[in-house]
Symmetry: C2
Subunit: 340 residues, 2 copies
């Protein structure tokens, strides 16, 4: 970028320097053509998904470029995993602030961004297939379009939960939402008696999601319905229920919580609402028929992903009932996080 | 958007109101799931492409939302056509300014934007498959990821031009670059003796590209190499040559020019450089072997797309020589348009 911190100019230079090395898939054509070409795997349906993040909205402008790159890719990987799909590759659309102002990004930002993106792409078997890099008068925006595959007809949808199915979540819930509070310095970790490691755990869960790619096959094989938890467990489960024409009940006493989250809630029980509706978990919530639960749990264990039963799909319509620690129903101000 | 000009809130409302009606493909799942699912057409390769546009960079913030929508889709359709591919569908990633400021967009902008997008999607047989809508502290950004298909192994690449191939372009060159000058009011149409209709033609070519979708099959069947002309003919041909390990010569006397462009150049011959390198043409430049030229021309005529031979692929390396009106080589300051 002529206007940034190095010599040389143009989108072509940025692509050659930073992104072409990531385009290891032959169909990417070395990012030296206008398109990518992909022979679809036989007997599969394609699974398509796009998610964007914007500086100042979905990440802090001063977050490390490495964590921004990983987040951009992983939130899309999380969606694929929740649908039972395996990744094939991705396209990257990148808007970069121009000029010499504080917000402008140049090689000092792009080099670690691309390096981390490449590391994640390799780790998740999800090569860069193509992209577009544009200058923008606004903040950094990163839009990833992910392609995945499932054996034909086996996509796990939101619509598919049946009354009696168990509600299961992976990993732990609420870490990222609590981490965001601390990252944004709206609360201090010390207020909850957290040490630096505990704070770092929570903030780290906000900065760098851990998509449950390893759980995709278990979800695909055993779940009636599933989605990833990105906008808050309560709201996302409500969406799954709405799509399935059902309701649900979950018990907060059964929520899988990390040790730091448990400590925060002990000190500030009112943050339970944040845990339930804060978002950025990038875990999977699934409905699993009772007679599939043991097989699902075994497959999850074999994949190394903890899963926890937290409730049940019910007849009827309407948002899930959330039972508080004492067993009475909670009233949540908002079930889901939204920037709008 | 709670912060904009209507009641109701959230991405879900925007999607239900404006984008779900466009998701006519069954694989879009009504935009009510996390992903789209697509059974790839048998015997085909997938062709993937993403292009983004940003307000203040690629379009004017006060351009009509209808033209912005059409441009966002059509610049991607243009790429597909130049590769000989037919469209299958697209994903849309949309960043919208929030707040109540002048830049904020709400329903008054989104309604005509989505309507025009839907009209184009229907006209080009390219349904909306999925997307993401995010709030942004910056300008409107629209990133489209397009999926297309070609019969396996028949993608037309940049690399493939051979010495002796003829250089052919579709439509007319330079209109959009001249239209941009007038749209931006850097020059007045009256300076060139243009009437309102002539000015509107040029500005219209800038605002709303006409992708050469109808030419895709002729390109696929007959061209050795091709790409769309988006960053200026001289620079894009240079890229095609570089990818092919060849050079080229083109004659400006043979350039297909619209009547308004011809009038502008008569009044201001120095704008020839703008015509050659200004960009936004969204025409196709192709290399066609001499023994395929007649068939290509016939197929183009049958498709209703004018094509013009403007030069030849040459042995050697380096940017194409551009012969001016008097037959001598032109020196272009910059061959290609770049925002960086």
């Amino acid at each position: 970028m002529t206007t940034c911190d190095t010599e040389g100019s143009g989108e072509d230079r940025l692509i050659a320097a930073y992104f072409a090395p990531l385009a290891t898939h032959p169909g990417a054509l070395g990012l030296a053509d206008d398109v990518a070409v992909l022979t679809p795997p036989a007997g599969c349906d394609l699974v398509l998904e796009t998610d964007a993040i914007v500086a100042g909205m979905h990440f802090f402008a001063d977050d490390p470029p490495e964590t921004v790159a990983r987040k951009a890719l992983r939130i899309n990987l999380s969606d694929l995993a929740a649908k039972g799909a395996r990744p094939l590759g991705f396209l990257l659309s990148l808007a970069l602030p121009r000029g010499r102002g504080e917000a402008a990004v140049g090689d000092r930002w792009l080099a670690p961004f691309a390096r981390a993106l490449g590391e994640d792409a390799a780790a998740y078997g999800c090569p860069l297939l193509g992209g577009d890099t544009v200058a923008s008068p606004g903040p950094v925006m990163i839009s990833v379009t992910m392609l995945g595959a499932v054996p034909s007809g086996t996509l796990v949808r939101r619509a598919g939960a049946r009354p009696g199915d168990r509600v299961v979540v992976s990993g732990s819930i609420g870490d990222a939402a609590l981490g965001l509070l601390m990252r944004g310095e709206r609360v201090a970790a010390g207020d909850f008696g957290l040490d630096a490691a505990a704070r770092d755990h929570l903030v780290g869960r906000y900065l760098v999601p851990q998509p449950r790619t390893a759980l995709a096959e278990a979800v695909r094989t055993h779940a009636s319905a599933a989605m990833d938890v990105s906008d808050g467990l309560a709201g996302d489960l409500a969406k799954l229920c709405a799509a399935s024409g059902a309701s649900a009940v979950i018990e907060t006493a059964r929520l899988p919580l990390s040790a730091p989250a448990r400590r925060v809630l002990a000190a500030a029980p009112e943050l339970l609402a944040t845990v339930l509706s804060g978002g950025d978990d990038y875990e999977i919530v699934a409905a699993v028929a009772p007679d599939r639960l043991a097989s699902f749990a075994a497959a999850a264990a074999a994949a190394g992903v903890p899963v926890t039963e937290i409730g049940e799909i019910l007849e009827g319509r309407g948002p899930p009932r959330v039972l508080g620690p004492d067993g009475s129903a909670l009233a949540l101000d908002r079930a889901s996080f939204s920037h709008f």
